[in-house]
């Protein structure tokens, strides 16, 4: 007989950071698109409002990220994002095979989530890049656009503002794609909504054979 076993996986600080990050991400994407494709007929939000919302949400996201970095380090949670080098390729292939084949055939997860290992190898690689490189790049370039006087005036014949804006736009776009994938993978838990419940309540449900 299968029973449901609950495990406390996501502490309060992590849940607060995650929900704030998610909401800010959403606003930043919507206003970012509005700014990039601004015109007389606003596609989502008017330019004037988009600028204000984008700036405010960007600052909140940056402060929230600083909070994450500090508590993530103190609590030791940062280790969750470090993929073990040994067996990395083999484990990644195993996980990819599960996503592309095993999942459709009812196979068990090759790396079931636990308190000790919250992410599978592919998630570790993706989150490691996003959390420690891409998101900081987005925040730093955003800060440069918010305070353009700190940017270099010219580099290789173009203004520092130009490079910063290009980096910010490209990074923002890839983070938007990441968010789409992240939300979709959120539906691949025990049920479609199980992972969403877990990140809101902190408790993840596991099936156990008695």
């Amino acid at each position: 007989m299968t029973t449901i076993h609950k495990e406390y996986m996501y502490p309060l600080w992590l849940r607060i950071w995650h929900i704030v990050n998610g909401i800010m991400f959403l606003f930043l994407i919507l206003t970012g698109i509005s700014l990039q494709y601004a015109g007389e007929n606003a596609i989502l939000v008017s330019y004037e409002n988009a600028i204000k919302i984008h700036n405010i949400c960007g600052v909140i996201l940056a402060l929230n990220y600083a909070f994450f970095v500090i508590v993530n380090f103190i609590s030791g949670n940062f280790r969750q994002y470090l993929p073990p080098i040994k067996g990395l390729i083999g484990n990644s292939i195993k996980q990819a095979r599960y996503y592309l084949w095993g999942m459709f055939n009812g196979e068990p997860k090759p790396f079931p989530t636990s308190k000790e290992m919250k992410f599978n190898p592919l998630q570790q690689i993706a989150y490691f890049k996003v959390m420690y490189f891409i998101l900081p790049l987005s925040i730093i370039s955003g800060l440069g656009l918010l305070l353009p006087e700190i940017l270099i005036d010219e580099f290789l014949g173009e203004s520092g503002l130009f490079y910063t804006a290009i980096v910010h736009t490209i990074v923002g776009f890839f983070l938007s794609l990441f968010m789409l994938g992240h939300i979709y993978l959120g539906t691949t838990g025990r049920t479609m909504s199980a992972n969403f419940k877990a990140i809101l309540t902190g408790y993840e449900e596991h099936e156990k054979e008695d």
């Binding site: 494709y37 601004a38 459709f104 804006a165 776009f173 794609l177 789409l180 994938g181 979709y184």
Partner: protein, 295 residues
């Protein structure tokens, strides 16, 4: 064509011919500079009773658009007599004497635009070309210079001669531009007239309206059809805009304008990537649902 017009054109052609033939006028040989290169030279205007600065910088004159003219090409020859006869104070010079509308000049059109503008409405005939443009050091920047920042700085200096002075205008520029994010950056990147003049034809618009008519909607510049392409960047080559696939690439010379700086290849590439991501997710979801039903 009247004889008067023919005579004027011939005079201009002769001046141009001699200027080309003998090169730039040597300011050292212009005796007027004996006195007028003194930067303390002033006089009290007998009509207005105001102190008038009579200094003309020889260095700036040498670089001005009128560098090939001698003083008496515009001023009366009677000025060669010093001290100048008193009645010459009433001398009226009009740019239109040389710059009537034709192939090169459009000064009559400009004059018509000026007369529709706020300055003319407030100052009437006192608002001559010389209030903004000093013919002794004037040069055209927007049309010929690739350095947009210098153009902006130079063109804005005409406005700033009066408008930076709070006592003259009664308004503080910082306060009335408070709505503008990063206003210093805007002031360094675009000219006052880019927002305050109404676009009309292909010449630099001189129809500067009341402050209520100025651009306040961000998307007029921050969009694919940015008005900057008809103003500050109007004289840049259209071909330049296509380089590197950047839509409005001409703006890239010195700036990144949110909403206006776009790249065709990036746009296409991003749409393809977005489509592939959504398609991948949809296909995956479809097989998940299908396999679950089958099990």
């Amino acid at each position: 064509m009247t004889h008067k017009k023919t005579a004027r054109i011939l005079t201009v052609l002769l001046i141009v011919f001699f200027s080309i033939s003998f090169g730039q006028v040597d300011t050292d040989e212009i005796m007027c500079f004996d006195c007028h290169s003194d930067d303390t030279l002033t006089k009290v205007d007998s009509l207005t009773k105001r102190t008038v600065n009579l200094f003309v910088s020889p260095e700036k004159y040498k670089q001005s658009i009128h560098k090939n003219l001698t003083c008496t090409d515009c001023h009366s020859e009677e000025f060669e007599e010093a001290p100048h006869p008193e009645d010459l104070a009433k001398e009226e010079i009009s740019c239109l004497d040389c710059h009537e509308d034709g192939e090169v000049f459009k000064f009559e059109t400009i004059q018509a635009q000026v007369e529709k503008g706020i300055h003319f409405q407030k100052l009437g005939d006192d608002f001559t070309c010389f209030v903004c443009h000093d013919p002794h050091n004037f040069h055209i920047s927007a049309r010929f210079s690739d350095d947009i920042k210098s153009t902006v700085q130079y063109d804005n200096s005409f406005c700033m001669n009066c408008h930076k002075d709070e006592e003259k205008t009664g308004k503080h520029l910082n306060l009335i531009h408070e709505f503008l994010p990063h206003k210093e950056r805007h002031w360094n990147a675009v000219r006052c007239i880019d927002c305050h003049a109404q676009i009309e034809g292909e010449i630099v618009s001189h129809m500067i309206g009341a402050k209520e008519t100025a651009v306040r909607t961000c998307v007029e510049c921050h969009s694919q059809d940015s008005r900057l392409l008809q103003t500050l960047y109007a004289f840049k080559s259209k071909e330049e805009r296509k380089e590197k696939g950047f839509i409005n690439g001409v703006i890239l010379n010195d700036s990144y304008v949110i909403g206006a700086t776009r790249n065709y290849f990036f746009n296409v590439f991003s749409i393809i990537l977005l489509f592939l991501t959504i398609a991948g997710i949809s296909i995956h979801l479809f097989f998940r649902i299908k396999s679950k039903k089958e099990r």
